[in-house]
């Protein structure tokens, strides 16, 4: 016992020392404002903070670095000798879907790695933690991967932008359209955590607003593998539509088990949030006919396809909307630096606000000044019954115009 106690004591001592050392590091350094004009530290540093190893790895993860590098290459090719930013560096970190890790990594990026901007940050809790850091450090932050409307609502701030989508957009696109087209009675199953609860609220509100009814909203534990009984329960009362608000592995479990239930073919399945990587992993036939809102699709038109081909050359996989959005955000940031002649965050915010953009990701895009939501056209997609080629999984049924998808600016946002 003696030796064990000694080990335990020394382990505690090591842990304590390590945490002291860490907090000392956290306190060191501080935001270095760029001199009026010119670049801080003579270079532009883009921080990519996302899930590099967990459930969101495939839909964004390491391949977003490739997308950002494409933006840097395009920027350099476009401006060559005239480029304001000649030295551009990407730093990456894995937040492991934990808000506390995202918080400390963001701090490290801004302070010690001299990041001028942080991109991506899927997972709503992590996304909100980084928004607070951006506000405190007065550095730019463009969120892409997270869905929470709080980023452009109660937690909005001058330095935070939300580029690709949010839960309200998904609800307007999917619930709004399906209800208008006759799917009036819904039952919703949602995972019982912040994202799922948020989605359930947004979807229920949108169904009701369009003259439909939600019979039951059923919370399922998160994560969960056995949905058979949830599906039976969701089928009670003979709804026309069952909405699944699950993501990742839960979504795949739900859809597999829905397909094996007697409801398949009788009830329409609507999915709250889906990425092309989900369809790829489950197989297109399993999702066939499912409707969902997509922020961008690689095979939508020639421009998207051309960009996707470049991406595929480097990664051997087709891009998700998050990859394209990371490219678009990085490109527009660099354009703003070029225009301003500096990477000073306040100056760049001025250049970005109100800017109207049409690029490979944003169609009829506008960086809304009031709440920093980047509004753009989104798409109601239906999964094909079979794939003509690998990754060609979606039929775009309808383009939802930016104004309809994003509605009015969020009144909860005060730019505090």
């Amino acid at each position: 016992m003696r030796s064990r106690n000694t080990t335990a004591v020394s382990a505690i001592a090591i842990a304590a020392t390590a945490s002291l050392a860490l907090s000392a590091c956290g306190g060191a350094g501080g935001p270095q404002a760029a001199a009026a004009g010119g670049l801080s530290d003579d270079k532009v540093v883009i921080g990519l903070l996302n899930d590099q190893s967990g459930v969101y790895k495939d839909l964004s993860g390491p391949n977003s670095k490739v997308a950002i590098q494409m933006a840097i290459d395009d920027y350099k090719a476009k401006y060559a000798d005239k480029a304001v930013a000649k030295d551009i560096e990407i730093v990456t970190a894995d937040h492991q879907n934990k808000a506390d890790i995202a918080n400390s990594k963001a701090q490290e990026m801004y302070d010690r790695q001299k990041a001028d901007i942080i991109l991506d940050v899927p997972n709503s809790a992590a996304a909100l933690a980084v928004a607070t850091q951006a506000k405190n450090k007065k550095k730019l932050y463009i969120n892409i991967g997270a869905g929470t409307t709080a980023l452009t609502g109660a937690s909005c701030n001058k330095y935070t932008f939300h580029w690709a989508y949010n839960t309200a957009v998904l609800a307007r696109g999917t619930a709004g359209t399906i209800t208008q087209e006759g799917g009036k009675s819904w039952n919703i199953v949602y995972p019982d955590y912040a994202f799922g609860q948020d989605m359930n609220k947004s979807f229920s509100a949108e169904v009701t607003k369009n003259g439909g009814t939600v019979g039951q909203s059923i919370a399922s534990p998160f994560p969960s593998d056995n949905f058979a009984t949830f599906i039976t329960k969701a089928g009670e009362g003979n709804p026309k539509v069952i909405g699944s608000m699950h993501a990742g592995g839960d979504l795949i479990n739900f859809v597999k088990q829905f397909n094996q239930s007697s409801l398949k073919g009788k009830v329409q399945l609507a999915v709250g949030l889906m990425f092309i990587t989900d369809i790829h992993s489950l197989g297109v036939d399993q999702f066939a006919g499912t409707q969902f809102t997509d922020a961008w699709y690689w095979n939508f038109d020639a421009e998207n396809k051309k960009w996707a081909d470049r991406f595929t050359e480097k990664t051997n996989t087709r891009p998700s909307f998050a990859h394209a959005a990371n490219y678009s955000a990085a490109m527009n940031y660099l354009e703003a630096v070029q225009e301003a002649g500096t990477d000073n965050a306040d100056t760049i915010v001025g250049k970005l606000e109100g800017k109207k953009i049409n690029d490979v990701f944003l169609r009829n895009g506008e960086i809304r000044k009031a709440d920093h939501a980047v509004t753009h056209d989104v798409y109601l997609a239906k999964v094909k019954s079979s794939a003509p080629e690998e990754w060609d999984y979606e039929d775009i049924e309808k383009t939802i115009p930016a104004a309809e998808a994003y509605g009015e600016a969020n009144p909860a946002c005060t730019m505090g």
Partner: protein
């Protein structure tokens, strides 16, 4: 009433699957006294290997049902020979930590090779569709999985209680010293039994492949439920694992039907209640606790 029957049937179907999945955990603990935390990871490996066999070699479900347990048996033997055996003499906590570490390595390795969004797998031909009686229905595959599991659990039960091998293995666990004195090489049986337990985990993985998401993390949550099953049934008891498997399946189904948000908590409330009344589980031996 038909709804009640519907939920009961779904609970039983899930229960059969839980029983088979927990069986390997019970066998390994019963014979070696090892709490194998990597059981969930081995279950995951079983499903992943089945998916890879299908994708790379076009070997379907029925082949996987035979091939995967064989591969996993080999994996279990290696695991026991290379790692587990060296810690058997020490506090059980050491092997618990070893298998926990192994779980992390296996999960990350699969993530590195196959990504995180999962692999596709389909219901085998002939097992699709539903059986409907009145307003009650159940998918053919769920019925198959349940019957298959129960038959296998019974076979393992008979193997352990009615055959010479089973007798030796049980004697070796009850009293290794005296069994050795009777001229039986106890050590010889430890490795195959461990491999057998791992093979059962792999088999459960194959059975799960058509109905569940095949991802590196698929075992991480599942192992928690399996531990609840073996604790309720009594650590190391095969009959206990089977009975508790069905009990947990039913409790979960009724939970979903009547209090959906608490469906999983109910399982652990049941576990806590069983431990309070019978610390060694429903069918556990007192000395185990």
């Amino acid at each position: 009433m038909s709804e009640f029957i519907q939920y009961t049937l779904q609970g039983l179907a899930a229960g059969g699957f839980y029983a088979l999945s927990a069986l390997g955990l019970a066998v390994i603990f019963g014979v070696l006294g090892v709490v194998n935390f990597s059981h969930g990871a081995c279950y995951m490996l079983g499903a992943v290997i089945a998916a890879v066999l299908l994708a790379e070699l076009s070997l379907g479900f029925w082949v996987a049902l035979v091939v995967v347990p064989v591969i996993m048996f080999g994996f279990g033997v290696l695991m026991e020979r290379l790692l587990v055996q060296w810690l058997l003499a020490l506090d059980p906590l050491y092997n618990f930590l070893l298998t926990f570490g192994l779980t992390l390595i296996l999960v990350e390795a699969v993530k590195l090779r196959y990504g995180v969004s999962g692999l596709p797998y389909e219901i085998p031909a002939g097992l699709g569709g539903q059986v409907t009686v009145g307003s009650v229905n159940l998918s053919v595959y769920a019925i198959f999985a349940c019957v298959f599991s129960v038959v296998l659990c019974l076979a393992v039960g008979l193997l352990m209680t009615r055959t010479r091998i089973g007798m030796i293995v049980r004697a070796a666990t009850e009293d290794p010293g005296r069994t050795r004195a009777l001229g039986i090489n106890v050590g010889r049986w430890v490795t195959p039994v461990f491999g057998f337990g791992i093979a059962l985990a792999g088999l459960a993985g194959v059975l799960a492949a058509p109905t569940r998401a095949i991802t590196a993390e698929m075992g991480s949550n599942f192992i928690i439920i399996l531990f609840a099953v073996v604790v309720i049934g009594g650590l190391g008891s095969i009959l206990g694992a089977v009975v508790a498997g069905f009990l947990v399946g039913l409790v979960e189904a009724y939970g979903v039907a009547y209090a959906p948000a608490y469906a999983q908590i109910v399982i652990f409330v049941l576990m806590a209640a069983v431990i309070l009344v019978r610390p060694s589980g429903l069918f556990g031996r007192e000395e185990v606790a």
